[in-house]
């Protein structure tokens, strides 16, 4: 162990192979950003699908998108953005060592995330009922253009994968809230919360692009 570490007494969280906690935090952040890069490319595959199929049948995309509920979409966007704000506040309050405020913000983020999922559930239920489903399950009439089920394939794939990531995010935030309540974090060591925040902001970022592409075509 380096002399500096031994003298200062290693903090509980510092892993043996790092020189100091600043190096450990920077490494964690770099690792998280690279993981976010892989998430962007994972969703990128679906954005590429969207671009190609929209270019192949533009009128159908326009006509099919009118069957999406723009108000619900907008509400979802507002909900997710506020959850991003509360997540950022949670990190800020842990930086200021305010455990209670952090827990409050974390629970607010969880609540908003579940509101988002509930709205999503209603949208899906509505589509299942109407038969606006991907592929051979598509039984809805009244959309002009060729192969309207392709729009719903793209829609369900993108919002479905995004929904799964929201669920994973809620799980991780719950785990972080549990550890915060256990007092594992402090003003000096809040890296896990910051990483969860980065992940959550990315999930919000992806929805920021999903919303206009799916709901506001013209």
């Amino acid at each position: 162990m380096s002399a500096e570490n031994a003298a200062a007494g290693t903090a509980a969280h510092l892993q043996h192979h790092f020189v100091d906690s600043e190096q450990q935090q920077e490494s964690a952040k770099l690792g998280m950003w690279i993981f976010l890069l892989t998430e962007i490319l994972l969703f990128g595959g679906l954005f590429c699908f969207y671009a190609i199929y929209r270019a192949w049948n533009p009128e159908m995309f326009y006509d099919a998108h009118t069957h999406l509920d723009i108000t619900l979409g907008a509400i979802n966007t507002v909900v997710l953005i506020t959850s991003s704000v509360t997540m950022a506040l949670a990190i800020r309050s842990m930086q200021l060592d305010q455990k209670r405020a952090t827990l409050l913000n974390l629970f607010a983020t969880l609540a908003l995330a579940s509101v988002f999922l509930v709205i999503k559930y209603f949208e899906y239920a509505h589509k299942f009922e109407l038969g606006q489903l991907p592929g051979k399950y598509y039984t809805f009439e009244g959309i002009a253009g060729s192969n309207p089920h392709v729009f719903f394939s793209v829609y369900f794939m993108m919002t479905g994968l995004h929904g799964i990531h929201v669920l994973i995010g809620m799980g991780v935030i719950g785990w972080i809230a549990y550890r915060t309540s256990k007092g594992h974090f402090s003003g000096k060591y809040y890296t896990p919360i910051e990483m969860t925040g980065l992940y959550w902001h990315l999930v919000d970022l992806i929805w920021i692009f999903l919303f206009p592409l799916l709901y506001l075509i013209s």
């Binding site: 500096e4 200062a8 007494g9 903090a11 100091d20 906690s21 600043e22 935090q25 920077e26 952040k29 770099l30 950003w33 690279i34 976010l36 890069l37 962007i40 490319l41 990128g44 954005f47 590429c48 671009a51 190609i52 270019a55 192949w56 723009i70 907008a74 966007t77 507002v78 953005i81 506020t82 991003s84 704000v85 997540m87 950022a88 506040l89 800020r92 930086q95 200021l96 051979k136 399950y137 598509y138 039984t139 009439e141 060729s146 192969n147 089920h149 000096k188 925040g197 980065l198 902001h201 919000d204 970022l205 920021i208 692009f209 919303f211 206009p212 592409l213 506001l216 075509i217 013209s218």
Partner: protein, 143 residues
């Protein structure tokens, strides 16, 4: 415990709330703009607003503005490679018919599930949708 060499960046509360409200305003703007029919540049405007919102979230909420520039490079790198992937794939999908028009689109652009009945698609039995159903309709040789 030794203080990390660079002071932790704690933003004032107003910054977070300010950015949050800016994002909400931009959401309202993008919904409103979508109602006006500007033709092709509508997509462009929607993307610019979305990019603006995205950069707000990235710079302030994800602290890219105050952190090591490497992370910004990683984010931009991801978007760059994604753009390369989409653009090069569209070089193919959009230009298949440049030499000979007949190659531009599929032979039968209506998917098989719509051929069953004139009244519109009915839920087809599972196997008739298999990819090896008859697809090529008779092309008169002169075409």
């Amino acid at each position: 415990m030794t203080q990390p060499k660079r002071a932790i960046h704690i933003l004032p509360l107003q910054t977070y709330l300010g950015i949050g409200s800016a994002l909400l305003i931009l959401t309202v703007v993008t919904v409103w703009v979508a109602t006006i029919d500007l033709g092709p540049i509508n997509l462009l405007v929607a993307m610019i607003i979305a990019a603006a919102k995205a950069s707000l979230v990235a710079l302030f909420f994800m602290h890219l503005k105050y952190d090591n520039k490497l992370y910004a490079v990683i984010l931009l790198g991801a978007l760059l490679f994604l753009a390369a992937f989409v653009v090069f794939t569209m070089f193919d999908t959009m230009d298949r018919g440049i030499i000979d028009g007949v190659r531009a689109g599929p032979i039968n652009d209506q998917a098989v599930i719509y051929e069953q009945s004139t009244s519109g698609p009915t839920l087809p039995p599972a196997e008739s949708v298999r990819s090896d159903t008859v697809l090529h309709r008779e092309i008169s040789p002169s075409e």
